[in-house]
Amino acid sequence: MESLTTNTDVRLTVTRCFRTLKSSTDSSDIITALRTLHSYLDEGPDSTATSAERAEFRRAHYSSALQLLVSNIQADWLHQLTAAQRAELWDGLFLAGPPEQALLVLMDAIGELRWVVLGKFLQRGRLAELLWSYCLEAAPSDSPQLRETLLGRISALPDITANKLQLNNRALFRPQQYYPLLATEMLTALEHTCQALRAGTDCNLTFVAQTLGKVCIQGHGGLVLAVMAPRLSACTRSDMVWQRVCWKLLENVPQRWMESVLTGLVQAVSGPDALGRIIGNLVLTNKKAQFVITHKLLLLQYKYETRVLRIILGYLAADRDRRPLLIQVLRSVSQAWANSSAVKHTPLEQQLYVSKALLLSVSLLKDSEIQELRSELLQCMLGGMQTHLDSNVVRIRHMGMVIGEYLSSRMDINGTKLKFEYDQDEETRELLSLLAPGACDEPEAEPTAETAESAQNASQTTSGAQALKTDPDSDLDSDDELTPYDMSGDQEISKASPPRYLRDCLEILISSEDPVRVELSLKAAESLVRKNSFAAREISVQMSKVLLHMDDKYNINGFLYLRQATMVALTVTDCIPVAHYLTTEFYSLNYSLRQRLDILEVLALAAQELSKPVTEKKAASISSATTAESTPYPGDNPVHWQQVVEKRIQSKTKRLTKKVNQPVTKATPNRYAPVNICLIHDTFLLAAQMGCALLDFVWAVRYHADQMVRRGVLFAVCSVFLSMPSQNLLVDISDQLFETRSWLADVAEGDPDADCRSLAVQSLVLLDKSLKKQLQDPQAPTVET
């Protein structure tokens, strides 16, 4: 009965105040009304209202009071208040009452309202107050809808403010600042919880856990956990209450948000121990967590750093209860690793990830556990090794070798170990480095102790450095001040000398079995041909034949280039017979595609060279001759050859129009004319035929299981589209075009190999470009002659 009268009293007073605020223009009245409202929120000892009155006001009238204030924001009286009064009476009302109501009103009104109040609300730690108030309630007193709304507002505050304030948005409301703030507020609430638990009060972490989950699922887990994880890790180090609070918090995260919280957490913690302290044995109690940790993060996703793998597996290995899970993980990982279909069809990056997981989990096992798993591991090793070694990709083979070596060394098969010979590269080194223990230990302890320690360390190292400096033997004036010159020219000198005559050179190329001599001859060949064109003419065709049929038997460095350069030199020196020979051979039987392409390349390069003016040509041949010599004498021809040539050109150029001050373009004869006739075939027709043939050929293997083959196919398609005239493209392969397009789109989207995907995209672009060009302007000549 008494409470009823209290409620009526409060309602009457509040209604009177509201009326004043709505209608009055007298500022003293307004101030009195605001003060009265304030008195219900004031909890100090000199408060005029009773606690029952205060509770009633908070329950029934606070929100409407705030809404009234917001809706009267344009009223005159607000502008008559001084800044201090406004801060005290107006802002104060928002900051003193129940935070959830204030937050909801503020966020609804953020568009009209000054953002200052919301800023103050956040900065004064009202969020922590809000979260903490929810921790204290044993059972929710409000409706689920209200909670849902509140949760949404808290977790998406940056989005809401950005939408409403648009360009006027404040830095404080941006995700980079807001989420770390929210994280510290959650930590404060947890801190309060710990204190309350010690004092014997029960708390409820559901709301905080929901907030954490919602923030993580919305993609802000990184920002929030970057703040929370180190702190939680430090607090749980020695404090059991904190540990219990953390475990409870994680248990209370709703199932649908569990995954994003866990993935965020494993990336944010510093090591397996920290993860163990924070989540406890969650993997054993929570099915979802178990699936995420033991399956999803290891076998389905592969984007995480090696550190994360180390943390997950280390976490599983650290506790006796969790150890069976590690063995279960090892079983599934080794099956995935050995699966031949996975080796063929999953991306390389994922295979590397699985390999790392396998290495790490085996390295965490004890010898006795390995003995138990022996048969399974052996099966994995034998089957997996075979599929890996059968692969065409070097990286996959290397993975197989590294893992095979390690597994065999751990399993102790009658004392025998596998040992492969492979070149160490970055990847194998990384895999091997995983086996080195303790690369991921936590950098320690309480932050305060840590800084003190590091400061001490720093002073020690500096004193150490000083001690070093006083060492008389130290290299104060070491060699480092002298920067080395380029020493790449310091190569081994071979015993044999290069041939001096072209006929010797040819003889060696035809019959010699000595790799060194063949290499030297090939290197000397071009300059010999160019130096002695008379001798070269006598054997030009014969030498071209030899070179065209030559194989890179001895793996000579730059073989293709050297051979091509010599053939070009021969064609240039004795163009008509050689060009005739090459063009005839191009159409004859029993040549490989490579050889035919060589012929075309040589002809093209030779044509380019011949079409250059004679004088320039001379300069080029001089330069190539000098560079070909093993040790030129720079002292012997002090004037650079280019200057000589320049002078020669100057002296021979007849300046007909002396007055006009512009460079005279001289018509110099080129040597292309006589061969022109030999080289002109209707090349584009040929190209179109070849393109069609190539497309037909690769069609059958376009879905080949081996990625190298697929890459080759795509490369061929790419080059066909690149070189075929667009007209022919439409005419000759129109029936295949549609199918090719859909196949390419398919590959571009779904091929496991990244190179294949990009090649497919490139082919598509080329094809589209070419088609568009043709469709827009079908009459345009496709080849300029």
């Binding site: 070491s478 080395p484 380029d486 004498y633």
Partner: protein, 328 residues
């Protein structure tokens, strides 16, 4: 991108034979000179200002000159030839007169080593007639000081370095032998102080830094071996440097102890930082074995040049790591 390998600043041609030895004399007031000894018995005195041979001394009756050096600035020249003679020449004021000669009796290629004990008093060490024998005489009196013969078989003496330590004790002698050993001799005690096996092949050359007491030796294989003398006069092997091609004819340390140069059989001169033997440059110019290298003894460090003599009958001069003019 490192700087391209430098080219010689100039070359001296016309020696008419392989250049076995080089010696600078640039300290005095007069013209800076370079002495060279050729395989055809000619000693050239090159004027480094005009870059021409100022004088040519036909010595050792056409036999190969394997070593030249000067006494007291550039007035007295001393040379060693394959005719088993060490000759002393007066070259002051344009003369070229034979003053003295000493018969060594050695058929090998071992170069002599000379050290000044007091003004106008020198010690000369040379390989003797017997296989392992080293003789030391006083100059100009030509009195024999001692003969040093090791107890075990080490093969021929290949190279020598005689010096007077700062500690004030008697002169010390480093000798490299055919079996790859380097021995340290105390000349006054006539006793062996220490021995190390620096190379599996004959020691072709050695040089020693008397300040830091570190030395380095080269051989017919691919490594330069460095060693140091500890407080107890023991030789201790230190790190090795591996070269790209085998064979080193001569080694030389620059006066400021910053650079070491090697004359390679692979036609190349290599420059190393002396402290850590870090490779700094490979100088390519010659077309045949480089037989000798020398750093000039200019008073001004910026003028100090590197000279190399080769079997291709040329001398190349290089300017490397000279402060201020360090452009190669």
């Amino acid at each position: 991108m490192s700087r391209p390998s430098p080219s010689p600043i100039y070359t001296l041609r016309g020696a008419g034979g392989p250049l076995n030895t080089l010696h600078f004399s640039c300290q005095g007031e007069g013209t800076p000179l370079l002495f060279s000894g050729s395989g055809k018995g000619a000693i050239h005195i090159w004027n480094l200002n005009s870059r021409r041979a100022e004088k040519i001394i036909e010595a050792h009756s056409g036999n190969s000159v394997i070593w030249v050096s000067t006494l007291q600035s550039a007035d007295a020249l001393i040379s060693q030839g394959r005719d088993m003679q060490v000759c002393w020449w007066d070259v002051s004021e344009g003369r070229s007169e034979l003053v003295e000669s000493v018969r060594t009796g050695s058929v090998g290629y071992c170069q002599c080593s000379l050290v000044e004990m007091s003004p106008a008093n020198y010690l000369l060490a040379y390989a003797g007639e017997q296989t392992e024998e080293i003789k030391i005489i006083e100059l100009p009196s030509k009195t024999a000081v001692c003969t040093l013969v090791p107890e075990e078989k080490l093969g021929m003496v290949m190279c020598l370095k005689l010096w007077q330590p700062d500690s004030g004790s008697g002169p010390l002698l480093l000798a490299g032998y055919e079996n790859g050993s380097v021995l340290l001799w105390d000349v006054t005690q006539r006793s062996k102080l220490s021995q190390v096996k620096a190379h599996p092949e004959p020691v072709m050359c050695l040089t020693f830094d008397t300040t830091s007491l570190r030395g380095v030796s080269g051989s017919s294989e691919k490594t330069l071996s460095s060693w140091r003398l500890d407080g107890q006069s023991n030789l201790q092997l230190q790190d090795c440097v591996t070269l790209v091609n085998p064979g080193v004819s001569q080694l030389c340390i620059r006066m400021d102890r910053k650079l070491l140069a090697s004359a390679g059989w692979d036609h190349r001169i290599r420059v190393f930082g002396w402290k850590k033997l870090r490779p700094l440059a490979v100088l390519q110019y010659h077309t045949d074995m480089v037989l000798s290298v020398a750093f000039s003894d200019h008073r001004d460090p910026r003028q100090r040049v590197l000279a190399a003599g080769s079997k291709d009958q040329r001398i190349s001069l290089w300017s490397v790591y000279n402060e201020g003019t360090d452009t190669g």
